[in-house]
């Protein structure tokens, strides 16, 4: 049974990615970049085998992953090139056009255009009632977003930095996550809470926080992390359309990534992981910025003769245990690379989930590389050592594959 994303229901323009369509030559945009085609990981065995074949062909190309695909992609491909923050804005704009109940609230999202330019131009287009500049009062404007969502509006609350949302933690945990349950299903909270997080360039401890771990135990919410312009737009749209509260984690350093995305409308699935690079030897699970560190390490690894399978888990809550499980059953070795904190981080939960479900398939203990349990220092060299670097990833894979 194939996973059908954007299936043929209401939205005529949405793509339905069937496994068979992967092989059609007309789908030019998919055949070249393994990243785009790969999120269609399907459950039927036939297509997985096909993936492996494709992977063998691509190994020689994998040395120059991004540069190569972008060079080929600018050739005669359909779609348009844009930066990640523009992709987010495009997704947001399309959803605001489509549904009049979608509104944005946050600090400086309106007239200023957003601190990361995600909402630039939207205030002039939609007016002050749909793109709302709030005062600096995270607790209350997040609460107001949740209250508005209870009546059926679909607000998008932007935290200027995820760290500021700690002030709204009570509202997110108690009201956002729990109201659907404690009201016996009467109220749905279709809110999206988004904002940049992660370690930037020497922003200091309080502005370099990774809060995925703090929110992950809240029952009732979904968490996703975007990493490329393609999945940023897709996840933004899916999050807005979702009836559940979704927290969308972006990363400060990824806003200027450039990629070519399709012109047609598409939505990504909120609970699926993305197969970045199929492989045979080891499964590397990652998300957000660490995906790029992993791909960089993958280049070195391929040169050394390893064949890593890289999966961008994307969905932080719930984990896409299906894709991850299939991968573990194939490679029997798992490496988790994340930017979250070591103690109680996403990697820790993922390690527990994989051990619980797939222990029999593991040949070696799971290695989890996460950030150090320290507040992010200001000094450049120290900051570099706080997060996982490609060299450490290579060492870990070598250790795993002994």
């Amino acid at each position: 049974m194939a996973t059908i994303v954007g299936a043929a229901t209401a939205l005529s323009a949405s793509k339905s990615f069937d496994s068979r369509k992967l092989h059609l030559p007309s789908r030019g945009s998919l055949s070249v970049s393994e990243r785009k085609g790969s999120f269609l990981v399907v459950r039927s065995d036939g297509s997985v085998v096909h993936k492996a074949h494709r992977a063998q062909k691509l190994i020689t190309n994998a040395v120059a992953t991004k540069a190569d695909s972008s060079a080929a992609s600018t050739a005669s491909k359909p779609g348009h090139e844009l930066l990640l923050f523009e992709a987010l804005r495009e997704g947001l704009e399309e959803e605001m056009d489509r549904d009049p109940t979608v509104c944005v609230m946050g600090e400086d999202v309106g007239h200023y255009g957003g601190s990361y330019k995600v909402t630039k131009g939207l205030a002039t287009k939609y007016g002050d009632l749909r793109v709302l500049d709030t005062p600096i009062a995270e607790n209350s404007f997040t609460g107001m977003g949740i209250g508005a969502a209870m009546t059926g509006l679909r607000p998008i609350v932007e935290g200027m930095n995820m760290g500021f949302l700690l002030l709204a933690f009570n509202q997110i945990s108690n009201n956002c996550g729990m109201l659907h349950y404690t009201s016996g299903g009467q109220f749905k909270i279709p809110i999206v809470i988004r904002g940049p997080g992660g370690v930037g360039r020497q922003l200091g401890a309080e502005h370099s926080q990774r809060l995925e771990s703090y929110f992950q135990s809240i029952p009732g919410i979904q968490m996703v992390a975007c990493s490329t312009p393609y999945n940023a737009k897709g996840l933004m749209k899916a999050a807005i359309r979702s009836e559940n509260p979704v927290i969308l984690f972006e990363h400060v350093l990824l806003y200027n990534l450039k990629e070519r995305i399709p012109d047609e409308e598409y939505v990504c699935s909120l609970e699926e992981a993305e197969m970045v690079r199929p492989g045979e030897h080891v499964t590397i699970l990652t998300y957000s910025r660490m995906r790029y560190h992993v791909m960089q390490a993958a280049k070195t690894l391929v040169n050394k003769g390893y064949d890593p399978e890289v999966i961008d888990i994307r969905s932080l809550k719930p984990f896409d245990l299906h894709t991850i499980g299939n991968s573990v059953k194939k490679t029997h070795r798992v490496l988790i690379v994340e930017e979250c904190m070591r103690t109680g981080g996403i990697g820790a939960s993922l390690t527990a989930a994989i051990t619980e479900n797939f222990n029999d398939y593991l040949d070696a203990p799971i290695i989890c590389l996460s950030s150090q349990d320290v507040p992010t220092p200001y000094a450049g060299t120290l900051e570099e050592w706080t997060v996982v670097q490609p060299a450490q990833i290579v060492t870990a894979v070598e250790q795993l594959c002994q």
Partner: protein
């Protein structure tokens, strides 16, 4: 009926009895059920205002409204007393915050608004839920954790909700419902439907920062939000003068107008809420401070007498009880006899007892209900049963 206007309340009913015995029962019935007759009654205490005009002290009402006030308040009072006994019988567990003494606020507010307006309150929500159209069966089932409860047994005393009549709960964390209430008002302004939101909170929550944050945003964006402080003078065990430097809660909005209302007088509450609704639709947020009192302690685990004297409680009960006030009004205007009111109370008592019996029959939720409604259907993972079989959802 000149004798009806004689001052003293106790002698009033004594004088009325011989006269009503003379007048034939049929004629008396016609008089008391003349529902369309407007009565104008003065509130006992004038309104105090901050940054706005006070509404008039003369409140228009009808006999049927007064009788319904009596009946609704008697139902609420009886329900809360019954909940007290159920808690002591360990059928209700956890937290149980009772509203007896404050019924006039719920009843007066309901009479001034429609079911399209929204009400959101904190955890002392049983009577507000009833006023919004909830049934006694739903209340008692939810309190006892049965599936017939308004939240299917999963919410409990502090999480009563009724979406179809605009009752948004039922919140456990002090003060967190005020930003939610301002969000409801925002949605009402967004959808342009001409309704308002009443966000209720207590004197304890009045010191929460998020309240002032929400008030600032509501005033900036001109939201139809009415913040109602149910000031029962004690934040759990702390008296208001020990918690707030300025216990004049209606003035603490600063640039937001405020009104102080006698919360034990249902007609005053009605007048104030009507005034507030008109104000909010035109000029943005307004604060109402309801001067009220609770007879029980903060919750069932609080005796309620360690921080206040029993004399104080009985004094308020004798002088300001909301049900007694309406009873006196009904009797003085000869809308019903003493016996009829007593019959109403007996009827209410029976209704409550029946509801409790029915609620006791209601079953506990099934085990698979543990996992239902964590996510809205169609998205996310829906786990069925303890073996965690997961069904993947498909994006539409």
């Amino acid at each position: 009926m000149a004798l009806a206007h004689v001052a003293s309340s106790t002698s009033r009913s004594n004088l009325l009895r011989p006269i009503s015995a003379i007048i034939s029962p049929n004629l008396r019935r016609q008089l008391s059920t003349d529902d369309t007759r407007t009565l104008t009654i003065e509130t006992s205490v004038p309104f105090t205002s901050h940054q706005c005009e006070s509404p008039s002290r003369s409140v228009d009402t009808t006999p049927s409204e007064l009788l319904s006030f009596f009946r609704d308040m008697a139902t609420m009072r009886r329900m809360e007393i019954a909940a007290d006994s159920l808690y002591k019988a360990k059928l209700i567990r956890g937290f149980c915050h009772l509203y007896d003494g404050q019924e006039a606020v719920a009843v007066g507010m309901e009479s001034a608004i429609t079911k399209k307006d929204s009400i959101i309150t904190a955890y002392r929500d049983h009577c507000t839920f009833l006023g919004r159209g909830g049934t006694l069966l739903q209340v008692f089932s939810e309190l006892m954790g049965r599936i017939d409860g308004c939240s299917k047994g999963k919410g409990g005393s502090m999480h009563f909700y009724k979406k179809d009549s605009g009752f948004y709960g039922g919140h456990g964390i002090v003060g967190a419902q005020v930003p939610l209430g301002c969000g409801l008002a925002f949605a009402q302004k967004y959808k342009k439907d001409g309704t308002v939101t009443f966000a209720l909170y207590g004197d304890g929550a009045a010191n929460q920062g998020q309240l002032f944050e929400a008030l600032n945003i509501s005033a900036l964006w001109d939201l139809p939000a009415i913040l109602v402080c149910e000031n029962n003078h004690y934040g759990m065990g702390t008296a208001e003068w020990r918690a707030a430097k300025s216990p004049a809660y209606y003035k603490r909005g600063d640039y937001v107008p405020g009104l102080k209302v006698d919360g034990m007088d249902a007609l005053a509450v009605k007048q104030a809420c009507k005034f507030a609704k008109e104000h909010a639709l035109k000029n943005g947020p307004i604060i109402l401070e309801m001067d009220t009192y609770r007879y029980h302690g903060h919750s069932m685990s609080d005796p309620g007498s360690t921080y206040r004297t029993r004399d104080e409680i009985s004094g308020v009960r004798q002088e300001r009880d909301p049900i007694e006030r309406v009873r006196k009004l009904i009797l003085s205007h000869d809308l019903a006899t003493e016996k009829e009111l007593k019959d109403t109370e007996k009827e209410v008592r029976k209704l409550v007892d029946d509801a409790i019996a029915q609620a006791k029959e209601s079953p506990m939720p099934e085990p698979h209900e543990l996992f239902s409604n964590v996510y809205a259907k169609g998205y996310g993972v829906e786990a069925f049963g303890a073996d965690r079989k997961e069904v993947r959802a498909v994006l539409p």
